[in-house]
Amino acid sequence: MGISCKQAVDYISKKEEGKLSGNQRFQLWQHLAICKFCRSFSKQNKLLTSIFKKRPDTLPEESGTVDKQAIIKALEHAVGGSLN
């Protein structure tokens, strides 16, 4: 009796961290050989994880700015005096 699709998806994530035993790797391979949905999932997962690795740490500056005066005001309030 092979593994289920849900288990296969779980194994795919664990495999990324090298957390599958030899037997589990074989079971996953066996499942992917017969299940086109999980094969698609596996392929898509690889594509997505490879692209995330390339993503920069912070969003570009133009994606959001902060209300600096509000921060300064909150600081003034908290420390009980003018910061200027």
């Binding site: 289920s4 949905f37 997505l48 690795k53 912070t58 969003l59 600096k68 921060i71």
Partner: protein, 187 residues
């Protein structure tokens, strides 16, 4: 440190670094309000700790360290709240026999999937999909795939059991995949 200089410095840091901190934070929290609050708290902590700041690390690095700790505290708080409720919900993608449910089976994304992820607009759709996750799922996903931490580190930081962690990753991935498929890859 002399108070006037301290005030001058911290105000300067707000002007110089708050946008960078905000954008880093925005990618890791659910909404702008939370990101705003965490950035504000970062400067407040910086103000309180400025006398102990050794000047060894750059100011920017130091502020980012404070912010990262704030984000982790925030994650921990909601991790306790959200993890419990998550396990009561039925898995939306798998049936009782643990096979893909009808209608949500992964579809073929076509031969141009690689080009599609490299398009600039992809991240707009991706961020939209990620914002639909529960915050704890999104946090786990971000730490794993954007920050490159492994499961042990994430469990330790968020005080999660290993089995809860794998369920969170599983749910986050299946949900994101389905959302991206519908809104980007099979448009």
């Amino acid at each position: 440190m002399d108070l006037v200089k301290k005030q001058h410095d911290v105000t300067g840091w707000v002007n110089e670094y708050s946008d960078a901190l905000f954008n880093y934070c925005l990618q890791r929290t659910k909404d702008r309000d939370t990101a705003n609050d965490l950035v504000q708290e970062t400067f407040l902590s910086a103000w309180r700790a400025v006398d102990g700041y050794s000047g060894e690390a750059s100011v920017k690095t130091w502020l980012f360290t404070i912010l990262k700790n704030k984000i982790i505290d925030h994650y921990r708080k909601m991790s306790k709240r959200q993890t419990a409720s998550l396990f009561n919900d039925a898995d939306p993608f798998f049936d009782e026999g643990n096979h893909w449910r009808d209608g949500v089976c992964p579809k073929d994304w076509g031969s141009d999937a690689q080009d599609k992820v490299e398009a600039k607009e992809f991240y707009v759709v991706f961020d939209g999909c990620k914002s639909k996750l529960k915050e704890i799922q999104s946090a786990v996903f971000t730490m794993k795939y954007l920050d490159g931490l492994d499961s042990e580190e994430i469990c330790k930081v968020l005080e999660l059991t290993s089995s809860n962690y794998w369920v969170l990753i599983h749910r986050a991935k299946t949900q994101l995949r389905a959302c991206l498929e519908m809104n980007w890859f099979t448009l």
